[in-house]
Symmetry: C2
């Protein structure tokens, strides 16, 4: 019998993966620092196996960048859209990720390819907010609301220093009602915050406005950049060109976010609001300031507003948060 | 030196006081049971001393009803409107209570008259929700939202089994925005939940409708009952008589509560919603059901709605909760 060598792994690392419909962003943390990262486009073949392979590929690439090997891996965290079965490490109904319409045993499948490393799976927005809370803009606070503005609008609550998701479905700030009977939301209801501030809804609205004869440079910019969707970058460019429709769409998004966030603030009394997500990060401080301005008139205690901040980790929030989830 | 007799008080009791603008309701608890109670109208003289004396009077009367004396008092809890300085046991800006417009050292003043008993002071709605959580309809749950519908609309959040009020100003569900640009609220803003569901706003609306020629039996009932305000009882009677304006006002209140509660639910994912307060308790189950029906269409997870319940303790929620606050 040989003696145990618990300290033989001198430089343990943790991997964090942010799985999205468009890209997979992975980081490796050592001593709470990002020491390696990798990013690839999400395979669009529709075979979940290809997505799993791509995830494993980014983890290996990040480990290599960090000068580490599979054996140094203390754990892996994965943030994913869709419904998460945290116990099993599985994901359900991640409609945005090709091939993930049915249940996928994400954790076990990734673990298998990486020396049975322990894998924890969480909701993409929750882990993004966790990342900002522990390693980003949220560090000074114990009670905060993260509002992730992307294709949809998601949220995450940190209460008394812990991620709070109620019975597992909390954080759906995108489906707070900001205008009863208002615009149709992708959830089928009317007047949700997401119907005004989610990129998918904004694009539907832009297309319908164009059909009705309104002018915009949004779709010209989209084609020029070889996209088939109005990405956050497309909005940012159109805004820089003072495009009128874009200003209206972004203005309405800020209006709706102002109402939803103020209502959340009046109910829960957060210390800070962090605005992130693809659109939030891309539009940056001017957008975050606009949201704060639209929030203030609805605050019950306007003399004691929450701090409204942009993310610090930007598009790494999710991957870093996933690593934090795995103990990194 | 005599030996200590820690067990000499064989039947310790705790008092709980619900201080309101109209009445003071007090209970005494022994072994978590209400063993005595007393209720008086709140003195309208404008002298805080008279209110303090009335509070002390109800405590003495409740003790007597319980067969206990000042010496048995383990502690006193008081729920009060206004801003609470919990540490000092003081209350600020309780505009509804005559003479309480300035700071009142409520705890110390009551303590002085009752053998220096320990007094804890809390917000009236918070202690009401605490009462229902620990001794009423909320006992089966660890995460719930209490919505108190009275002169205004207040709320209290129980998260992971603890009252959560953020930085001290949480629970203001009455000032969630349910219709941007909607009715004027008593807080000065527009479209707050309270502007539709608070009794004071509803009365302003009723008076303005009557001025514009609309018919209602509300004010006839009010006069018949010798009131100068549309109390919860007046609404209940008019509703029983199928008064059209009352049905409209109560229907709008349920509509607004449905939106506000659904938004709160989508954000926090509670197990249960408890609807209490003067109006909630008086209108009872039919009203609570109506609120639940108006909530459901806005739920992001309609297949997993929270339970929507009325209070169990009714108009004793506040007094029992205050006693709980004091360890009873």
């Amino acid at each position: 019998m040989t003696s145990a060598k618990p300290e033989s792994r001198s430089h343990p690392v943790t991997a964090g993966v942010d799985l999205g419909g468009t890209k997979i962003q992975t980081v490796v943390l050592r001593d709470e620092e990002v020491v390696g990262s990798a990013r690839v486009l999400t395979p669009q073949t529709g075979d979940p196996g290809d997505v799993i392979d791509a995830i494993v590929g980014t983890i290996r690439a990040s480990l290599e960048a960090a000068g580490a090997s599979d054996a140094d891996l203390r754990g892996i965290g994965i943030g994913t859209p869709g419904e998460v079965d945290a116990k099993a490490g599985a994901v359900l109904l991640a409609a945005n990720v090709p091939g993930f319409t049915d249940r996928v045993e994400l954790g076990p499948l990734v673990s298998e390819q990486l020396g049975k490393a322990k894998v924890r799976v969480g909701n993409d927005v929750s882990v993004g907010v966790l990342g900002e809370y522990q390693r980003g803009a949220g560090r000074p606070f114990r009670n905060l609301l993260g509002v992730w503005v992307g294709t949809g609008v998601g949220g995450g609550l940190i209460l008394d220093g812990k991620l709070h998701d109620g019975r597992g479905a909390g954080g759906e700030i995108g489906h707070m009602v900001v205008r009863p009977g208002g615009l149709r939301c992708s959830c089928g209801r009317r007047g949700c915050l997401e119907a005004y501030a989610g990129r998918a809804s904004m694009e539907r609205r832009a297309r319908s406005l164009v059909k009705r004869g309104h002018k915009t440079s949004l779709f010209k910019i989209m084609k020029k950049r070889d996209r088939n969707r109005l990405s956050s970058g497309v909005y940012a460019r159109a805004l820089a060109k003072d495009d009128r429709m874009t200003k209206k769409l972004i203005g309405d998004a800020a209006w709706a976010l102002g109402i939803g966030i103020a209502s959340a603030q009046n109910l829960v009394d957060f210390e800070a609001i962090i605005v992130g997500g693809g659109l939030g990060d891309r539009l940056g401080q001017p957008f975050v300031d606009q949201v704060g301005e639209r929030m203030t008139p609805h605050l019950f205690e306007p003399h004691r507003p929450p701090e409204v901040l942009r993310t610090e980790l930007g598009d790494l929030s999710g991957a870093v948060g996933a690593a934090v989830l795995a103990g990194g």
